[in-house]
Symmetry: D2
Subunit: 283 residues, 4 copies
């Protein structure tokens, strides 16, 4: 169904919803999905409405124009997204295939509603798989002795596209702070542990050493602080003494791709609203 | 926080939310939790709003009075519940203690917001436990050779209370149709299987015979059709070849009490809306 | 690690394990994984041992020969499998890609230890995907007006390979009884519901109509009785009133491929022992 | 069923199982449950056998005596436990009731096979509940200004019993190192987070601040290092932006009592074997 998605966050007070819904009704809008959250601790308000596009008497630009006064009155951060315009996505990966292959397959099946602009990798390993799907592949090596040069090339390559999401599908390089800031709220990573447990390198080895009985994966926005950005989605799977770190890696890879696919889908459907270093996810 | 809960279901059309929220804003109501659902297949609308009680300029009776014209205009089934008025609950059980003991403990801890009016049982076995909590215990035996007499006495006993919920916490008798109809949408059962699998007697034995790898429990409203009423909540737990039906019973008992406690809490918090033989549960 | 897997089921009695382990020790075998189960109800014994291949002083044929007297003494059904010999697998699918693509990807990554001999489908739709992996694709149409002819061709095609597993990765045709009998214990199906709920056609529609709060998938051996064979593995995922049958299908597809992949892996690693219409799965 | 449980851990090598099973067969023992694990990384062997008591031709003391030479030969840490002798357990708690009440209820129902010797608490709050079950209650206050005195009294009280397990069912005091050492492998704690995330105080507040999407609980043996001992069991539950730390506490309390009950049951049934700072749990 063709919808417009009205996404709002603002300081909470009486009358916000009334004003918004009155505005929508005034233009004959049919709300088919509505989610709201009032964070009592911070007195902040969050909202996501899906409105049937063809129920409205206004065009999208006119709708945005008409909404401006309300947005100003309530100091809103807001957007109206058109569900008919697929988001543009860059995928990045290193050597590990499972997350990338999973997203490509979902995209091909039409269950991941987005345009994949390209894949960027610091290795050639996944080139053939990506080419099978007819997607451009940029191989930009990262020299361990001089990471800056390679990462600058990556930044340039990313800059040539205008993207709604940059997905680190097991891309094993750390970006400099300015890059993280530039794409804040748009760059999504999958970390192969149940954060905040086992940040940093080789979390499955860490999990094995600690002897945990569940391992997990975390989909989060990338910030300057490594593995510490706002969490979008997490999940876990049971392990036991029979699983060495290699077996955990195998089991965990299924959790990783499920969690990344879910987290990315929430992002693409405008279900994730940032709230400081946390997220409101309307599902 | 003291709130009023506005619960609505009605045929879906444009402008419902606008009218309601305008009404709330008009009376200065602060919405702190809002849930809506538009069922596209049946074109039916469902809503649950929590409004800060002390933000409103009207008393509860006046609020209900003022809302009537809107309710009429949209053919609403509706109610406004006061969170400060605990729901009145009758618990029923037979010999099995775990669900009953769990609810009594939650009630005592104050995490199950309700008044427990009494416990009705066809056995004496749980009398002492119930008395520890200071709750009246009605022992009404059911003679297998003449169930009608006992069940009529149960109906009379239930009728002496005015209850918002009758909870069958492993009460192993089947009620006649007229009793089910009288308390439709108020009588909650826990069935010890993942319905619609294993309806009827001894579901753990059925599960063992079939060799399933997960067993479950289902909290549902009671209707005339045995184990076929609207489902409120379900959950499962993993089993394997080591578990005979007795071991399944032990494992399953934990699922039963969790599922019943969750389902009942949803009911008590006015989160469950009936939709034919299904439910909308706003959590 | 290169191992021999000794798989046994037989009537239970004292001394079985002693005889077997003495036999293994006699030939210097190092047991690295051992699983046993004594089913008390049926007095049947099940065992799976993994023995380091290079610890043994005998060749595999000699080992089998030497074990025969013990097997006879205890009326064993038994086998010794060589972990270095990958099992041979035929995949079958119709139009739905997700299960097939998932297995092909795992196979390519080397995490599904088997040889895929071919894919058989009643449609052309998945041909290109299969060819990307370099696997033969047999398109055998099934004429709805004369299913017998097509299914006989399928039987002939299957018969040309010698296979350890035939995997119905969402193959939407029903095989005749003799075919089911011929490949009993070798033909694995994924059913898109939590059996025994929702057997037969369109389980997601059935689940939606019933209003369940969890949907699931079941991996089982195929028998003559539709969707009633021995269950290998099951799992579920949470749904709610927002999910129509289409959304359930999307969510469920992830459960299906996880459950099929796990179930098939158990089969390939000789972890599944049949016990009447049930399974013992050593994991 | 009356069984003897033979628990062994020792350096791994060829022939261990053969010797043990031959020994058992020699004395006519019927093995009804067998679990083994060979940890390849540390070359250590773990075993748990359940043997039908009445199948053996020896008394338990004679059996232990007869086993000694084998135990010596393989440098075993070992024990033979009699399933008919319930383990003796001390429960400790502070103000929070849910874990304690859960264990008491299971004990009363006979599903937690143990003798509860007493409850020790630094508060009077839970006295009445414990007395209902007819169990001695020792109130030993801990003066925040002088914890040493109170904790010494606790140690003396514990010392008056001979216990197989000391269960910290939300006991909110930290024991001195010598006490932890004295009861190493016997003192079981429930921590209200998914360790190693959120060690120390108020983990639900920490979880809320971090914005995780799952919260959990961990049952572990107590060691000198706070919240860092060998993990026995863990589980998680889903949360979202609607849950403040108080709501997380409510949801989490159900996970805590399930995880503690499972972990304790594993300990009581001799299913947990220590392996450095990790556990092998045979379930």
């Amino acid at each position: 169904m063709h919808t417009y998605r009205l996404i709002i966050s603002c300081p909470d007070r009486t009358g916000i919803v009334a004003q918004i819904t009155q505005f929508i009704a005034q233009h004959n809008g049919w709300i088919i999905e509505a989610s709201q959250h009032a964070d009592v601790g911070t007195a902040w308000f969050f909202m996501r409405y899906e409105i049937k596009a063809d129920s409205l008497t206004l065009s999208l630009p006119a709708l945005r124009e008409a909404f401006l006064p309300i947005a100003d009155e309530f100091d809103m951060q807001w957007a109206i997204h058109d569900s008919a315009v697929p988001k543009k996505v860059i995928l990045m990966a290193s050597r590990t295939a499972h997350c990338l292959a999973d997203l490509l397959h979902r995209w091909q099946q039409g269950t991941l509603g987005c345009d994949i602009q390209c894949v960027i990798s610091n290795h050639e390993l996944l080139h053939e798989t990506v080419s099978f799907y007819g997607i451009p592949y940029h191989h930009i090596p990262i020299d361990p002795a001089d990471k800056t040069t390679g990462l600058r090339q990556v930044a340039e390559q990313v800059g040539e596209y205008e993207s709604d999401a940059i997905v680190l599908a097991r891309y094993m390089q750390i970006f400099p702070p300015d890059f993280c800031q530039q794409y804040a709220g748009k760059m999504i990573n999958i970390h192969h542990s149940f954060l905040p447990s086992f940040m940093g390198a080789d979390p499955y080895q860490q999990a094995h050493t600690r002897g945990v009985k569940l391992i997990g994966a975390t989909c989060h926005y990338v910030t300057e602080a490594l593995d510490a950005g706002p969490i979008i989605e997490q999940d876990v799977i049971r392990v036991n003494h029979q699983h060495d770190s290699e077996a955990m890696r195998d089991l965990g890879s299924d959790v990783e791709r499920m969690v990344l696919a879910r987290g990315l889908r929430y992002h693409l459907e405008d279900r994730v609203l940032l709230h400081g270093n946390k997220t409101v996810v309307f599902v």
